[in-house]
Every structure is written in C-alpha cells, then in structure tokens.
C-alpha cells in the first residue's frame, strides 16, 4: 500500500512534468504556426519577428505554462528530495514531449526518435543522480 506522502510526492512530480510538456508543446505549436522566424525577420525585421512571437496565442499560453511550471517545481522540491524529483521530472518530461509531439503536433516520431527519447530519459536520470 502506498503511503499518502509517496502519493503526494509522485502527484507533484507528474503535475510539474505535465505543465512542462504542455508549455513546450504549446510553444512548439505556436512556432510551427508562425513558420521560419528567419523569413519573418527578413520581411519585417527583428522587432517584427519579436512582435509576431509575442502576439501568438499558443506561444503566450505555453510561456504561461512554463512560468507555472517554475513555481510548481519549487513546491515539488519542497516536499520531495532533489535527487528524486530532478531526474524523475526531466525524464518524464522528455517521454511526455515525444508522445505529445506525435499526438498533438503530428510529428513523425520514427523508431530512431523513440530510441533517442528513451536514451535521453535514461541518460538524464543517470546524470542527475
């Protein structure tokens, strides 16, 4: 039987990871919607490119998720050990990003990218120990 504290710790880790995935996928969706920033900068200049990014709704929502993620991370670290929370959140975020990129962004995640995602998730966990 899982203790209440264990459930609380893993809930916070899952919540932080979910916010990070939502933030990254929304930002990626916004940037895909805008298209190559180099082309926008060539047409409208640097300020035009910055304005295009900052007025994109998906980008703004993604940035908000990342800001919430920062504060949720602080809360998670207050109840969980850094040695558990940091690698767990990083690994779950990488795996969640790959799944969300395939489902929501319709990226072609072939076997090479799945293998890379798995290697990154395990590698980051090993490095953060």
């Amino acid at each position: 039987m899982l203790s209440q504290q264990t459930i609380q710790i893993w809930s916070s880790i899952l919540f932080v990871s979910a916010l990070a995935v939502a933030g990254e996928v929304l930002i990626a969706a916004g940037m895909k919607q805008l298209g190559d920033l180099d082309n926008i900068r060539a047409q409208s200049g640097l300020l035009g490119a910055i304005r295009a990014v900052l007025t994109n709704a998906r980008f703004v929502m993604g940035a908000l998720c990342m800001a919430l993620n920062f504060f949720a991370m602080l809360f998670a670290l207050s109840i969980a050990d850094l040695s558990l929370a940091a690698p767990a959140i990083a690994s779950l975020t990488y795996i969640g990003n790959a799944i969300a990129a395939k489902v929501f962004l319709r990226e072609k995640v072939d076997h090479r990218r799945w293998l890379a995602t798995g290697f990154v998730a395990v590698g980051v966990a090993l490095l953060a120990r």
Binding site: V25, A28, D38, F59, N97, K108, V120, G123, L127
Partner: protein, 142 residues
C-alpha cells in the same frame, strides 16, 4: 523532401547546447555567493540581481530561450530534445575537466546515452512535412 540544416541553424543548435548549461552553472555559482534565500529573506533576490555571475547567467538563459524558440520555428520538438539534453553533458564535462570533479561510472553512462541520442536524430530529417497543413497555415496567414 528531407529537411537539411543551414550552417547558421547548426550554430543555433550549438548555442542551445551551450547557453542553457553555462547559464545554469553561472546562476548556481552566483547564488552560492548570494547565500540561502527563503521566504523570510526575499530581499536577497534583489541583492542577487547585482551579482555579476547571476546577471551573466540571466543573459545566457534569455539567449537560450531566444535560440530555442527560433529553432522550434524550423525544427521538430522531438528533433531538438536531444540537443537540449546535451546541455546536461556539457555541465558534467565542465565539472570534470574545469572543476576537476570525479564522475561516477553511472554519469559516464548517462553521457554516452545522450551522445548516442544526438547521433540518432542528427542523421534524420529536422522537420516533419505536412504539405496540406502548411498550405492551410499559409492561407490562414494571409
């Protein structure tokens, strides 16, 4: 059509790898000098803004976010993930060869796995083609 990267785009990827890791290291170094910040000493955060390591770290992290956002406009999220993870390798190698820290076998294994992951995606296309969606987006942008 297979998306290949221009030299300037490779430079953005290298900047992503370096800016996040070096920026985090500088922030960490600066906050060590500033001291422990808690709810009763939030004023220390203001003090931290006058620490040169913290300032340099913030500038590099802003640079990282700009490069990452730019890269997402021409590359897939799953293509960029190993590049962002490579920052952890840079931090570990900086610790080993600059600060002369000892790396455990499990950390060397982590470095090897991330380097392999970069190799896996580097050989493939940087972006998924969606011809119909691209046309719809172009139409919506008019």
């Amino acid at each position: 059509m297979k998306h290949t990267l221009k030299p300037s785009q490779y430079a953005v990827l290298i900047a992503i790898m370096l800016t996040a890791s070096v920026g985090d290291s500088l922030l960490s170094r600066g906050m060590e000098q500033v001291g422990h910040v808690d709810l009763h000493h939030l004023g220390l955060l203001w003090h931290a803004l006058f620490n040169p390591f913290v300032d340099a770290g913030i500038v590099l992290l802003i640079g990282f976010f700009a490069c990452y956002t730019t890269a997402l406009s021409w590359a897939d999220l799953t293509f960029l993930m190993p590049a962002t993870a490579f920052g952890y390798v840079v931090i570990a190698l900086l610790g080993r060869f600059w600060l002369h820290e000892q790396l455990s076998p499990s950390r060397w294994a982590g470095i090897a796995l991330i380097v392999c992951a970069v190799g896996f995606v580097a050989g493939g296309p940087s972006r998924t083609e969606h011809p119909q969606l691209d046309q719809m987006d172009a139409g919506a942008g008019l």
